[in-house]
Amino acid sequence: MTLADLLPDSPARVARVVPFDTLSERLMEMGLVAGAEVMVISPSRLGSPMQIRVRGYKLSLRRQEAQRVELAS
């Protein structure tokens, strides 16, 4: 499962961010590393970006960026 499919208000942990490119590294530098707790505040609605909470701050991503973030089951 990826962050794009996570339901709002249910915390999960990041497994890894794929593929191995600079955008994934950027997401990791923003705190989305293995083991980090993430929560969806508001999902992508009508194609809008989604809002998540990670490491105590709010981040907004498009669905396609959130699909890079694989979650630990």
Binding site: F20, L23, S24, R26, S48, R55, K58
Partner: protein, 733 residues
């Protein structure tokens, strides 16, 4: 060879670094009393804010490093941040780094702090917004953080001034060179150590940070080094790749966060009842897909109104002031070329600069408020979907919206767009938005040619034509963005990784500082260009100074007298002589303009603009309109000899336009089709020298402004040509 001892004491360079939105600039203002000098970093549009700081140890300079999330450069701001800190950007590296961390967002700030520690320069930690953290029920221990990181740490609040004296004391003491680094695997440590010694052998600084940066960046970052050094680093990167499933760079990022989790233990303690998430509640409304968009639309309409109408009395004031100055100086100065140069060139040019200031100041204030309150990030969030369709970012919307008032503040507002290529696209399409200066031209043409046109579906034809001109501009802008993003500025649609900072009440001081530095930058950087070009244009329209010959003068006098004689009542002698003198002055002005460089040019470009339906008189107007589009109306007034003071609503000018006939055919020159062609040209053409000056300033060179002139005017010509020729074929001529 040893360097000669410098006679001057070296300035102690202090860099203030931190994430965006941590109150870094507010802290900068607190430390320096907001005496910042703002310039651009060479070859960039990234602002360089510095201020002198008086220290006991000698002269010091505080540098406000652009906010960044990481030292690995992925945007222009981050690249500049990296280069300033490591000394790659003009001059020495920082002697002292102050890392500013937002106490309410500790973990993200610590990530940058760890990267800065790796640079092994003297460092201080400033834990900012401790008051906000306290209000949120959190106590953050700066002392414990400092101990764990091995550098002095001070709690401060840039809003209240709390802790500033302590921070200044820490700056005097000079900070400490960090020794604590995020633990990494032995194999990776080995690789780093090898890279460091290779760098040192090559005469480099060789800090762990430099080695880490070069090993985790793309090979292009290493290509700038000496060949053998780049080769050995490339080999180390290849070795690193075999050491596990993750890349070296990714292992390093993960290791830093593991260390952050250890550092943060026990640093934050709840000091009271947790306060409900206010920003979250606001966001539920403000970022709602429907309600949020509605609010956004209202906010932008309000902003537009404010920039457009709120500035009107001020613009009127500026124009009146310039007019008064011209009159006052005109009375003082002896008649002659020098007086004309000063009045119509210099003073008018300064007026051309000053006239933009009301709009700019209102706009800069509004932008500062939107940025500092945290709303701008939400606007970018809301508009991301429509803007990503043409390959742009949500943040590109505001500059475009602003450009409906004026492209100058619009281009300046494009700074909020992060990716350099997208910022450039935004700036290049902004001038297509129909600005307030095009309105007088639309008004003149529509009222002269379409006043009696039949309404369409109950809507006035004039209004519909006006609206289609605005739509044409928008369509051209989006087409151009689409084109640029697929060709010369090809780049994937920028990813949206956008922090939504907590809402905050903007501080008056912060907003004023922002407005002041931005306005000053406009005056000092765009101002001289606008003044110089205004003078050139004035000269072109005034020289060579050919006087009306005696016979022509007599003819004008006679015509004026005859007109007076035809009046039903006899005209008193003094009124008659005044009217005759005015007629002569008019004729002289007209004659001078027609025979000036601009007049000659008007004739010269006639073959080029004839296929668009324009004659040489409109040609002069077009040339004149390059100072500012609205000048077309007064230039046409001069060309058609009704006086430059007739405005776009003037019936006299309207009739003069309608009376004008083609000398070859005897048919009216100004047909509705010519009018539409002229408006289309004005929608698309790059005619505003002030915009060119702003583009030059923001792009740091002439390349893009010149490309813009060629592209926009080419497009305008093609569109007008198509309009006029197709219209003629369809029988509208």
């Amino acid at each position: 060879m040893s360097a000669a001892p410098s006679p001057k004491v070296e300035t102690y360079r202090i860099a203030l670094a931190g994430n965006p939105n941590v109150g870094k600039t507010a802290l900068f203002n607190q430390l320096t009393g907001a005496r910042a000098r703002v310039a651009n970093y060479p070859g960039t549009t990234v602002e360089r804010r510095t201020a002198a700081l008086r220290l006991e140890r000698g002269p010091a300079e505080l540098i406000d490093v652009p906010g960044s999330h990481s030292l690995v450069a992925r945007s222009r701001d981050e690249e500049v941040a990296h280069d300033v800190l490591t000394g790659r950007m003009g001059g020495a590296r920082a002697d002292l780094i102050i890392v500013v961390i937002d106490a309410t967002h500790l973990q993200k700030g610590l990530y940058l702090a760890l990267q800065l520690l790796e640079l092994e320069r003297p460092m201080i930690l400033a834990l900012n917004q401790v008051d906000a953290a306290r209000a949120g029920g959190l106590e953050v221990s700066a002392a414990l953080l400092g101990k764990r990181l091995g550098i002095p740490a001070v709690s401060v609040s840039a809003t209240t001034g709390e802790g500033i004296p302590e921070l200044l004391l820490a700056i005097e003491a000079g900070g400490a060179i960090p020794t604590v680094l995020a633990p990494i695997s032995d194999a990776d440590a080995q690789l780093l150590a090898e890279a460091q010694s290779a760098l040192r052998a090559g005469g480099h600084d060789g800090s762990r940070g430099e080695a880490a940066y070069l090993l985790s960046s793309a090979s292009s970052a290493r290509a700038a080094l000496a060949d053998d050094l780049a080769d050995s680093l490339d080999r180390l990167v290849a070795t690193a790749a075999t050491r596990g499933p993750e890349t070296f760079g990714r292992r390093l990022i993960a290791a830093r966060y593991v260390f952050i989790d250890q550092i943060a233990v026990g640093v934050v303690t709840a000091s009271g009842a947790a306060v409900p998430d206010r920003s979250g509640r606001i966001d539920r409304v403000v970022t709602h897909p429907a309600v949020g968009l509605l609010l956004f639309a209202l906010a932008t309409i309000g902003l537009f109104q404010l920039v457009y109408t709120g500035s009107e009395p001020l613009i009127g004031g500026v124009e009146a002031g310039v007019g008064w100055l011209q009159e006052w100086l005109g009375a003082k100065l002896p008649e002659g070329a020098l007086r004309e140069l000063i009045l119509d060139g210099l003073v008018a040019g300064v007026g051309n600069v000053a006239v933009f200031l009301p709009q700019l100041i209102i706009l800069f204030t509004a932008i500062a408020l939107l940025e500092d309150s945290g709303y701008m990030a939400r606007a970018a969030f809301l508009l991301d979907r429509p803007m990503s369709r043409v390959g742009l970012h949500g943040k590109a919307f505001l500059p475009l919206m602003t450009s409906f008032a004026c492209a100058i503040p619009g281009i300046a507002a494009a700074r909020t767009v992060e990716q350099p290529r997208d910022r450039l696209v935004t700036m290049l399409i902004a001038p297509f938005m129909s600005c307030s200066a095009r309105l007088p031209i639309y008004t003149l043409v529509i009222s002269a040619l379409f006043a009696s046109a039949q309404p369409v579906l109950g809507l006035s034809a004039g209004g519909l034509i006006m609206a289609s001109m605005y739509l044409l501009g928008i369509a051209a802008a989006f087409f151009t963005a689409w084109l640029l993003k697929r060709t010369v500025l090809a780049a994937p649609a920028p990813p949206l990784v956008l922090e939504l900072p907590d809402y905050r009440l903007p501080s008056l001081r912060g907003v004023l500082t922002h407005v002041w530095s931005q306005s000053r930058a406009f005056i000092t950087q765009s101002g001289p260009v606008i003044v110089a070009l205004s003078i050139v244009l004035w000269a072109a329209m005034s020289y060579p100074n050919s006087a009306l010959d005696g016979a022509a003068k007599t003819a004008v006098e006679q015509t004026a007298r005859l007109a007076a004689a035809g009046a039903p009542e006899p005209v008193p002698e003094e009124e008659l002589s005044a009217a005759v003198a005015a007629a002569v002055a008019h004729a002289e002005g007209q004659h001078r303009l027609q025979n000036s460089v601009a007049g000659t040019l008007g004739h010269a470009i006639e073959p080029v603009i004839a296929p668009l339906g324009f004659d040489w008189k409109i040609g002069i107007g077009l040339i004149g309109s390059f100072a500012a589009r609205e000048v077309l109306v007064s230039t046409l007034g001069q060309v058609y000899g009704v006086g430059a003071d007739e405005g776009e609503e003037s019936p006299v000018l309207r009739e003069a336009l309608l009376r004008e006939t083609d000398p070859a055919t005897g048919k009216p020159r100004f047909t509705p089709l010519v009018g539409v062609s002229l408006m289309v040209f004005f929608v698309l053409a790059m005619q505003c020298l002030s915009t060119v000056a702003a583009l030059r300033r923001e792009t740091g060179g002439w390349r893009w402004p010149l490309a813009s002139i060629v592209y926009m005017n080419g497009l305008a010509w093609i569109a007008s040509f198509a309009t006029f020729q197709i219209g003629t074929l369809l029988g509208y001529a």
